[in-house]
């Protein structure tokens, strides 16, 4: 059995939510459902700010509504443009890619969804959930106590092992972050890399491999000095059960 690659570049209209991007392309309709049980990888970019995507297979959300990397051109590169690469789909599950363009102009979404067949029987491994956010603006001389406020995975839906990747838009003013889980500080105040982009794995690692109990709050305060700026965040939750 060969891997399947679903790849497209599509204009998402301004002021619209496209609930099923894969179905927009007639030639991809036969691949709307996973043809086999396999491991999935999603790589995606957008041509301008303002477009967010989300992805789920069946009723399992893998990528919460997320900002992805903005690039000029349509070449997808790995690992810098990988959104999620550790989720497992069952044969026949619907693959749903959602795109939300709240900006004033049409934006191009380029994506590639790869499915690699798994051989053998037995239960599938749990998914790794992903959320990408940014830019999140932090004012000068302030501390934003919780940049995950109101996001899908602020409280993990299952027990998980978490990883946080962060970048800042500028080094001026020395932005720093801390990380708390269930009110316990698990990472002290630390500098944020000024890469000015959505974080990529593994280059922009901020905190790796910490326990995230189900429904316990993950809190990430960010402080900024004299100038203020924006931060970008990637939160990965490797579920411990399916």
């Amino acid at each position: 059995m060969q891997p399947v690659v679903i790849s497209d570049g599509i204009a998402i209209a301004n002021g619209s939510v496209n609930l099923n991007v894969i179905a927009q392309n007639d030639s991809l309709l036969p691949l709307q459902r996973a043809p086999f049980t396999g491991r999935g990888k999603l790589v995606a970019t957008r041509s301008a700010d303002g477009l967010k995507i989300a992805f789920q297979h069946g009723d399992r959300k893998v990528v919460a509504v997320s900002d992805i990397t903005t690039v000029s051109g349509s070449t997808l590169e790995e690992p810098t443009h990988v959104v999620a690469d550790n989720f497992y789909v069952e044969e026949g599950e619907v693959l749903l890619l959602l795109a939300d363009n709240a900006s004033g102009g049409s934006i191009n979404l380029v994506y590639r969804l790869e499915l690699i067949p798994l051989v053998g029987s037995g239960p599938l491994p749990p998914d790794t959930l992903v959320q990408l956010l940014g830019p999140i603006s932090v004012s000068a001389s302030t501390t934003d106590q919780q940049i995950l406020q109101g996001t899908d995975f602020e409280r993990p839906p299952k027990d998980a092992i978490g990883s946080i990747y962060m970048t800042s838009s500028t080094d001026t003013g020395t932005p720093t972050r801390q990380v708390y889980v269930d009110m316990q500080r698990i990472a002290p105040q630390s500098h944020i890399t000024p890469s000015n982009r959505v974080p990529t794995v593994p280059f922009d690692i901020s905190v790796g491999a910490f326990e995230c109990p189900k429904n316990k709050l993950i809190q990430i305060p960010v402080s900024w000095g004299a100038t203020g700026g924006s931060v970008f965040l990637r939160l990965q939750l490797q579920n411990l059960s399916r």
Partner: protein, 162 residues
């Protein structure tokens, strides 16, 4: 807006060890020609103000990477506008080829203040939701021979769309 010699020197110091540009600006200003520094987009020739690189990641280019590049929006004519039926287009404003940040190089240049005003690019931070840039982009898309927009607009209006 006029820059003082100290401000010009501060901008130049980030990019070059030569003060030749400062000399040429001061000479021109003495002759009554108001000259200033700007950053020119290599793709569109639009101009960004002198603090473009200094304020990269603060006022300009948030999310576009660590190196200052052009924020100017470019139309992608190789990608069709959104499908009217499938994406449930409700307004003619939603019909356009997608846009991308050109991310072209920016070059430090000396220009007159009139040239800067005439060719000033609209930065991202000053135009949330692309409201100022959109009419300019659509006008260009309607005129470009590669564009599918004129035919789609004509069909939309024939069917009574607004």
């Amino acid at each position: 807006m006029s820059m003082t010699p100290e401000q010009i020197e501060a901008v130049l110091a980030d990019h070059t060890s030569s003060l030749a540009m400062l000399d040429s600006i001061m000479k021109a200003n003495k002759l009554g020609v108001k000259v200033t520094l700007a950053f020119r987009c290599a793709h569109s020739s639009l101009l960004f103000p002198a603090d473009y690189c200094k304020q990269w990641g603060v006022k300009y280019g948030v999310g576009l990477g660590p190196r200052p590049v052009s924020e100017v929006l470019d139309s992608i004519y190789s990608v069709s506008p959104p499908d009217i039926q499938r994406q449930k287009i409700q307004s003619i404003d939603q019909i356009m080829h997608p846009v991308q940040h050109s991310m072209a190089e920016v070059h430090l240049v000396t220009v007159t203040e009139d040239e800067l005003a005439a060719a000033a690019a609209i930065p991202m931070a000053a135009d949330a939701g692309m409201k100022k840039r959109l009419p300019i982009i659509i006008e260009r898309q309607l005129k470009n021979p590669q564009s599918k927009l004129p035919a789609i607009y004509a069909a939309w209006q024939m069917k009574g769309g607004k």
